[in-house]
């Protein structure tokens, strides 16, 4: 074997170009991993429809006895299905970083001259893309089941943005959890434990008016409720700018809190 001559070493690129290149590499890796697990991909795309069809029809009968905003339960629930899907995907979103910590892959990435924060931000971009794709599937499926959207196509795009704003905070919590735990054995029990109660203590499936007093108080504090109410407004009533901005503000505040928690967990947990 003879020595191989290498292509000459390129000068270090500017910071913005460097950030772009490392994000492209990281996103490419997350997407390749997803592509190699087709059953997981299938579950991610089909499960939201199952939620919609199952809960939508299961609870529709009961819902007839009470009045649900929007005229039909399915129409009422579409917003809830979007928010639930975003929550479920994002709350698990940090676990890949925990896997990378366990395998030593994370340390190897840290030895490269990439920004360590890029590893996390690429996860946010990936999950925003993934949950948007899921959101489109849900909204299209609901349309086929007869749900009509008061705010039109632009409103649906706005739904995806609201979903991403909500998802960013949830992802940050997941990342914080991933950096706080020693192994993934605890990760899924914790997210599983938190997931369903948080969903039921929101307006995903039941309007505030039909909740018992104490649950209504909890639901009012739940950021998922804010996201759902706004999504529901876009689906059922159409554009209302002021509440839209208020919700966006509330979700940004939620994101800021979650980012602070994640930053704290990450400062201590890189290794």
């Amino acid at each position: 074997m003879s020595a191989v001559t290498f292509s000459s070493e390129a000068a270090a690129p500017g910071e913005l170009v460097g950030l772009w290149r490392e994000h492209r590499a990281l996103l490419g890796r997350w997407l390749s991993r997803l592509r190699r697990e087709p059953l997981a991909l299938l579950a991610l795309l089909v499960q939201p429809i199952v939620w919609l069809a199952l809960f939508g029809h299961l609870l529709a009968g009961m819902a007839q006895t009470a009045s649900v905003p929007g005229g039909s339960y399915l129409r009422f629930m579409t917003a809830g299905a979007v928010a639930m899907t975003v929550f479920n995907a994002c709350i698990q979103g940090g676990v890949e970083l925990l896997f990378d910590r366990e395998s030593g892959f994370l340390v190897r990435m840290l030895a490269a001259p990439a920004r360590r924060l890029s590893i996390v931000t690429s996860r946010f971009v990936y999950l925003a893309g993934l949950t948007s794709a899921q959101g489109i599937v849900i909204l299209a499926a609901a349309y086929l089941m007869g749900v009509r959207y008061a705010s039109g196509l632009a409103g649906l795009a706005c739904c995806l943005v609201i979903g991403a704003l909500f998802g960013a905070g949830v992802t940050a919590l997941s990342v914080a959890l991933a950096f706080s735990l020693r192994s993934h054995a605890q990760f899924f029990p914790i997210t599983g434990f938190a997931g369903l109660p948080l969903t039921f203590a929101s307006t995903a499936l039941v309007p505030l008016a039909l909740m018992p007093e104490w649950l209504r108080a909890v639901a009012r504090l739940n950021p998922m409720t804010y996201a759902i109410d706004e999504l529901r407004g876009l689906v059922i009533s159409g554009w209302e700018v002021r509440p839209l901005l208020a919700t966006a503000g509330a979700l940004l505040a939620f994101d800021a809190c979650c980012f602070a928690i994640a930053a704290f967990a990450m400062r201590r947990g890189w290794r």
């Binding site: 191989v4 292509s7 990435m109």
Partner: protein, 265 residues
């Protein structure tokens, strides 16, 4: 690229200390690696080898003392150091769900190469490490020796000035080990300085130009394998590096009760 290549060493470590709480991993270690050398860092488990390497990769900050790679202080310019060094860790870290080629391109991206440069670099490394036939296989499906070559190639994406190999042949059979040695020699031929840790003294003897023996966070012997063997008094002309190692680390005291040895580390 480096103006004063003649005057500075590839790696310069002086009085390096690193503590973790009450544990002292490095206790004033000093050593120098010249350009183009294959340098072996030998020592028992827990001697401070991995800590030293992590400091030289700018993954850990030293508690005291100084570490410079190609003249650049790791504590002052960590990013500049990372651009110039490569690392092949002890663990299998290639992503098992990516192919060989995808793993290489991914690492190229993490070293901020452009897409085109990354593609070119991946093909060069596939050729260098004879991984062409495995380019589209998932890393998780590769055999031990092949996987090890991929790990090696991943440490070379940035054409490092200094390559750190942590136990490069751990767990390989003798054929795969010898084969990996020939790749390491080829990498040195291309101008890369190599620092490796190993438990296999035979490996250090066969591969390394110079060797330092580290124990309890200090360097206790340093020189070419031949010098170290010659310097060992009382062992005669047939001293092996193993004798040197045992003498230097004081582990010839096998009369010592086993429990003492276990607790003493």
């Amino acid at each position: 690229m480096i103006a004063n290549e003649q005057t500075v060493a590839a790696v310069e470590v002086s009085n390096l200390r690193r503590t973790f709480g009450t544990t002292t991993a490095l206790d004033g270690a000093s050593f120098t690696v010249g350009y183009g050398e294959i340098f072996g860092l030998l020592g028992p488990n827990g001697a401070g080898k991995t800590t030293a390497i992590k400091i030289l990769l700018a993954l850990l900050r030293p508690t005291a003392g100084r570490a410079r790679v190609t003249g650049i202080d790791v504590a002052v310019q960590p990013m500049a150091v990372r651009r110039r060094v490569g690392w092949v860790p002890q663990e299998r870290t290639a992503d098992p769900l990516l192919t060989t080629r995808e793993n290489l391109r991914f690492m190229a991206g993490m070293y901020r190469l452009s897409a085109a440069a990354g593609r070119r670099r991946a093909e060069e490394l596939l050729a260098l490490t004879s991984l062409g036939d495995y380019a589209d296989r998932l890393a998780g499906d590769l055999s031990g020796g092949t996987r090890r070559r991929l790990e090696l190639a991943m440490g070379l994406v940035n054409v490092p000035a200094v390559l750190f190999l942590d136990e490069p042949t751990l767990g390989l059979d003798i054929t795969a080990r010898r084969s990996l040695w020939s790749y390491v020699r080829a990498i040195r031929q291309s101008g890369t300085t190599i620092v490796l840790t190993t438990h296999y003294l035979e490996e250090a003897d066969a591969l390394c130009d110079r060797v330092a023996i580290i124990d309890h966070g200090r360097i206790c012997a340093d020189g070419t394998p031949a010098e170290l063997k010659a310097g060992l008094t009382g062992a005669g002309a047939r001293a092996s590096l193993e004798d040197v190692f045992l003498a230097a680390t004081g582990q010839e005291l096998i009369d010592q009760p086993v429990t003492d040895q276990l607790v003493g580390r």
